[in-house]
Amino acid sequence: MKAERMEAEKWQEVERLYHEASELTPPERADFLARACAGDDNLRREVESLLAYETRADKFIETSALRATARALQAERCELKAGQMIGNYRVLGRLGHGGMGVVYKAHDTKLGRTVALKLLPVASALYGDEQSLLLREARAASVLTHPHIATIYEVNEHDGIGFIALEYVEGASLASLPAGIPLKTTRVIRIGMQLADALDEAHRKGVVHRDIKPANVMLDARGQVKILDFGIAKLIERTTGDTGQLPHFSSPTVPQGSAPYVSPEQARGLPLDHRTDIFSLGVVLYELATGRRAFRGDTAEETIRSVVSRPHLAPRTLNPDIPPRLEAIINRCLEKDRERRYSDAKELTRDLAELLPLTDVGAALLSKMSGTWAIVKSPAVHGMAAGKSSWPKLAAIVAVVVLLVGVASIALYLKSSRETLRRQATGNLSSKINSLAVLPFQTLSPDAKDEFLGLGLTDTLINRLSSVRNLNVRSTEAVRRYAGKGMNPIDVGRELQVEAVLEGNVRKAGDRIRLTARLLDVRSGATLWAGDFDEQFTDIFAVEDRLSRNLTGALTLRLSNDELAQVEKHYTRDAEAYALYLNGRFSLNRFTEDGTKMAREYFRKAIERDPNYSQAYAGLAESFAFGEIGLPPEQAFPQAREAATRALALDSSLGAARAVLAQVEFLDEWDWSGAEREFKLALALTPNQPEIHHMYAHYLTAMGRLDEALAESKRFIELDPISPTPVQHLGWHYLYAHEFDKAIEQYKRVLVLDPNYTEAHRQLADAYWQKGMHDEAVAEMEKQLTLQGRSREDVVALGEAYKLSGWHGYWQKRLEINFERAKSTYIAPSTFAECYSRSGDHPRALEWLEKAYERRDHQLVYLSMTYDYAELRPDPRFQNLLGRMKLK
C-alpha cells in the first residue's frame, strides 16, 4: 500500500513537471529540470523521455478511431476503373500492384502525356494526418530530377485521395530478369553506375529511398535504368524541435518483397540514413553479378535474420568472371556496419567508373581496332531487349569516351591552377613546412561506438593547430572526405596542396587508448616523425599534449607563448565529458541535419558533466549557426548567440565562438561594428579557418569594402583549394562588385567543375541580365529551376511569358508562381521585392523591402551593394531604408 502511494505521488510529480516544462522553450527546459529534479535522475529521465514525444504527440490519435478505420477501409478497397478521372488524369488501365498500392497507367489530359498514377495508402490508422504527411514527403521527393530517377510530375489530392503522377517508364523491371544467370560485368557496372549516380543526387537533396530492390528499377531497351518509387522515400527526419527524438517510422513493416534487400539497420528498426540505400544497391548488384540473392531464407523473418547476422558468400565463388575489384566494391556496399560502407554514393559511382575503362571502353576500343564488335555485341542471354541494336551501345561508348576526356581536361585544369596556387602559397621552395593536412585518424577499435574517436581527435588536433599563425592547416571539412578511403597519404597531400601530412590510427580497448601517428613530407615522401602512444583513456589529455608537442617540434615551428598555450590547452579535465565532446564534433562533421541534431545532444551532455566546458558551449553555438542547422534562423540564431556568449564568458579565446557571434551580429542583428569586431577577433584567434574568411568576405562586400573582400575571397580559395564553393564565391564577389564580365567567366569555370551547381546558374543569370543579355539569363534560370526540380509547367510558362511580354513579363510570371509557392513554403520577402523590381513595379518593390526590413530578412544586409533596385535607388524611401539600416 505504501509503495503504491509513493508511486502515485511520483507520477503526480512527473505530471506537474511535464506541464511546467512544456511551457518553456527547449533550452530553458534543461535548466528548469536540472533545478526541479535536483539529484533525482530517475524523475528527470521520466519527464524528459515524455517531453521527447511532445511534437509527435500533437498529431497522434487526433482523428477518431471510427474515422481512422473507415479511411483505412476506403484506401484498401479503392479501385479505379478505366475512363475514370482523377484530377486531370484519365485512367487507362492497371499497371500493377506496387509496394505501396495499385499503380495505374493514365493519360494527362492537360499536358497530353502518359503517366503512371499511384494512389497513396493510409499507412497508419492512428495518425490522422498520415495522408498529408505522405503527400508532403512525396512533394519533397519530387524535387529530384535525374535521368535515372523516374520523375514525379505531380503530388496531389483529389476527393480526399492522395495520388502521385510520375513518369511512365517503358520496359521491364530488373526483377523480371531470369534468376540464376549472372549478367556480364560491363552491364553490372553500367547499371550500378547509373543507380549510384541517381542515389547520389537524391541523397544530396536529403532524400533516402529506403526500398531499393530489383522491382523498383526499370530497365529500358537502351540499357538505361530508372529508379521508381522515390515517392515513398522518407526524408531524413526533419523535425524542427531539437529534443533529440529518434525519427519515427510511419510504416511499421517491411514492404512486401523487400526483405532480401533491407539493410541490417533497417531490419533492426534503427534510424536510417542514406547508407541504407548503398547497402540495398549492393544486394542488387550482387544479384546481377552472381545471379543469386546475397541473403536468403525460407521466410521473410529468416531472410532478415540472414541480412542481420550472416555474411554473404563471396561473389567470385559464385561467378569467377567477376573482376576482384568489382567484388571488393560489392563487398564494401554490403558491410553490415554502415560506417564501413561507402560513405556516399558518389564514391561508389567513382569506383565503378574506374572499373569501366578496363572492362568496357578499353576492350571495346581494342575490339574495334581488330575490326570486330565481339564485346560490344552483348549476347542476348538475358532475354532482354538491350543489346539488340549496336547503335545505342555505340552511343553509350562514345559518351563514356567523351566523359573521360572531359574528366581528364578538368583534372588538367585543376592541376595547373593548383600549381599556380602552390607557388603563390609557398613563395620560395624551402624545407620549412608551412602547410599541413591532418588526415582523419582511422579508428581500429572493435567497438563501433568508438567510431567517433578517429575523426573527433582529428578535428580537435586541427583546431589546436589552427591557432598557429605560420602553419596552414587544412580544415576538417577539407580532409574529412578522405576518412576510411585507404588512399596513399602522399597523394592526398598533393591533392590538398600541402607540404606535410599527418596520418594515424587510434584504438580503444577497454580503458586503454593507443594512438599511432606519422608525419610525412609530401614533397620528398620522407617520414619526418613517427610516434606511438599507449595510455589509460583517462590520460587521453597527456597523449594529446605529447602528440602536439612532437608535431610542432617535427615541423620546426617556433611558437609564441600564446600559440603554445592554445596548442596545449585543455578545455576540460573530465575524460568522459571530453569523449562526449568528441562525439559531438564527429556528429557535427557529418554535415547533415541529423548529425547537427545529434551533435547538440552530445555537447549538451558534455556541458552537463562539466558545466565549465567552454569548448562544448562553442560547439553548441556552431551547431546553431553553421551548416545544416535544420531550424529557421529566428529560432537558431538566438540560441547560437546564447551558447557563444556562454562559451566566451568561460574562455574569451575561443575563435569558433567569436565567429558565431560575428555571424549573428552581421546577419541577424545588423550591428555592423559589432560584427567587424567579432570577425577580427575570430580571425586573430584562428587565422586559418577557411569558413571564417568566407563569412568575413561576405561582410566586407555588404559594407562596400570590395578590395578587402577580394583579398578575403582569395584567401578562402587558398585555404580550401579543392572545393567548388570558394570558386563559386569568387563569382559572387564579382557580381556584387558589378564586374559582370569577370563574374560570367568565373561562373563558367564553376559550371565546368560542377554543371549542376544550381546557385551558380542563378547567379550567372543575374550577371547576364546586368549585361543586358536577357535571352541568356532566361536560359540559365531555366536550368536552375529545372535542377531545383521545379515543375515543368512552371518552367514552360515562364518561357512563354518571356516570349510574349519580355523581361518584365517573365518576372510578373515569376511573381505569380512565387505567390502560389508561398502558400506552402516560406519565401523571403526580399525575393518578392526583387521580382517586383525586375518586373518594373517599383512601388510594390519598395513595399516588400519594407516587409523584408520588418522580418529582418538576412538578404537585406547586401542592400547597398546589390545590382538590383537600380531605378529605386534615388527614391527617398529607398535612401531612408538604407539610412535606417545604417548602410549609407
Binding site: W11, E15, Y18, H19, S22, S49, L50, L51, A52, Y53, E54, R56, A57, F60, I61, S64, A65, L66, R67, A68, T69, A70, R71, A72, L73, Q74, R77, C78, E79, K81, Q84, M85, I86, S124, A125, L126, Y127, H158, D159, G160, I161, L246, H248, F249, S250, P252, T253, V254, A259, A267, R268, G269, T299, A300, E301, I304, R305, V308
Partner: protein, 192 residues
C-alpha cells in the same frame, strides 16, 4: 435509416447493466460498419471516390441515435459507447491484420520473430494494449483517451462525462498521448 437494428436500444440496456446485450451488440455494429463501407464502394463505380466524412457521419448517426437517450443518461451513455467502439474497432483491426497476413499461421510481425528491438506498431491493436497499461498508471487519463479517440467525443463532452474541467481534459490528453507514444515505441510489455 429506420430499418437499422436497435443498436441504441441495446446500448441503453447495456449501459444500464445488462451484460447480455453486449453479446448482441458487437456483431450488429460490425455488420453495420461493413455495410456502410460496402455501400460507399458501390457509389464509386459511377466515377466518384467515396467520401470518408460522409461515411463516418452516417456511421455515427446509425450507431448512436443520441436523441433517444435521456438527458440524464447522456454522460453515462457516451462512456458506454466509447467502450463499445473500442471493443468493436480493436476486434475489427485484429481481424483485418489477420486477413492481411493471409490469415495463415505465422502472422507474427516481422520484427518480433527474433530477438531484435522491434519498431513501434502504430496499429489500433497495439494502442489498445498500451491504453490498458496506462489505465494501471493513471485511470483517468486512459478514460480521456478512450472517450476522445474511441468514443469520438469532443474535449467538452469528455469533460462532462468525467466531471472535470476542460482544462484538465486538455492536459490529460496531451500527457496521455506522449505517454502512449513512448509506450508504443518501447514495444509495450516491459513497463513495470
Amino acid at each position: 435509416m429506420t430499418d437499422s437494428p436497435d443498436i441504441t436500444e441495446l446500448l441503453l440496456a447495456w449501459s444500464e447493466g445488462d451484460e447480455a446485450s453486449l453479446e448482441r451488440l458487437v456483431p450488429l455494429v460490425k455488420a453495420e460498419l461493413h455495410r456502410l463501407a460496402h455501400h460507399y464502394m458501390q457509389g464509386e463505380r459511377d466515377g466518384h471516390i467515396l467520401q470518408t466524412t460522409a461515411l463516418v457521419n452516417e456511421a455515427y448517426l446509425r450507431l448512436v441515435d443520441a436523441s433517444r437517450v435521456r438527458w440524464q443518461n447522456r454522460a453515462h451513455f457516451f462512456a458506454v459507447t466509447a467502450q463499445l467502439m473500442r471493443r468493436v474497432l480493436v476486434d475489427f483491426a485484429r481481424a483485418r491484420d489477420y486477413q492481411k497476413r493471409g490469415g495463415g499461421a505465422a502472422h507474427v510481425p516481422l520484427m518480433e520473430a527474433f530477438d531484435l528491438p522491434h519498431r513501434q506498431d502504430t496499429s489500433i491493436v497495439a494502442l489498445d494494449e498500451a491504453l490498458s497499461t496506462l489505465a494501471e498508471v493513471d485511470a483517468r487519463k486512459a478514460r480521456v483517451v478512450e472517450l476522445r479517440f474511441f468514443g469520438g467525443l469532443s474535449v467538452e463532452e469528455t469533460a462532462e462525462v468525467l466531471s472535470v474541467s476542460v482544462d484538465t481534459v486538455m492536459r490529460d490528453w496531451k500527457l496521455a498521448k506522449a505517454w502512449l507514444l513512448r509506450e508504443l515505441d518501447a514495444g509495450g510489455a516491459d513497463e513495470s
